[in-house]
Symmetry: C2
Subunit: 111 residues, 2 copies
DNA sequence: ACAATAGTTAACGAATGAGTGAACTATTGC
DNA sequence: GCAATAGTTCACTCATTCGTTAACTATTGT
């Protein structure tokens, strides 16, 4: 996984609407129209968000057999894992000293 | 942890220079000048990035006893954990079916 | 054939955000 | 006291990005 890709993932996830889309697609595949309604975005706006998410590789689309007008979008697992890996790496140092950090965080349940 | 904060974290992390800063501060505390050199940013540019990171709560600063001109910056653990929590939640559905996704990811050790 | 549905594309305007140069504050060393 | 160091703030410019309206393609239903 290239660093430039992680760069792009963060840029793409900076937009609240797109993060909402990612969140919704985490639950399962959705159509463009559904995503527009759920997020309160207009059709053109959603269309562009989806294109950006597609080009970044965060999501992918499938055609449904019954209605050729509809595209079903679903989440790609890899990018989410890549972003988590980056955060893990940032954490690495203070996570491994299970002194200062562990005391620091154990007030809240993690995971 | 409020959703609006996670919103802000992603916005702040969208900038490559600021992600570099976060990465460097993950290794340990650094001074503003060190961060400027390491990232190739100018002093004013770095100063602004640090202010943004401070206001978002991603980092904090300490004064060093010997030289009062110097501010040492260090990373706050909570925001990183919060972003990871968000990503975990997105993953939740396909992570819990330890079928498709587990096969998908088990090439890399996760935690 | 025609209307409705699903979605995309293009052109425009407004807002946001990042970097720069110049001026400024505060502290340290001589 | 004065120069150097460390860093911040301000005013400005440039580019990017987001949403909207309007027009368009493709498909389905009657």
């Amino acid at each position: 996984m290239v660093e430039a890709q992680v760069d792009r993932f963060f840029e793409v996830l900076a937009d609240p609407t797109r993060r909402q889309v990612v969140q919704l697609l985490g639950e399962g595949p959705r159509r463009a129209g559904q995503l527009a309604v759920a997020t309160g975005a207009s059709s053109p706006a959603m269309s562009r968000h989806l294109r950006i998410l597609l080009e970044a590789g965060l999501i992918a689309d499938e055609r449904v057999p019954d209605d050729a007008r509809v595209r079903l979008f679903h989440l790609n697992p890899e990018p989410v894992v890549a972003v988590q890996a980056w955060l893990d790496q940032v954490q690495a140092h203070w996570r491994d000293n299970l002194g200062a950090f562990k005391r620091h965080v154990e007030t809240r349940e993690k995971r």
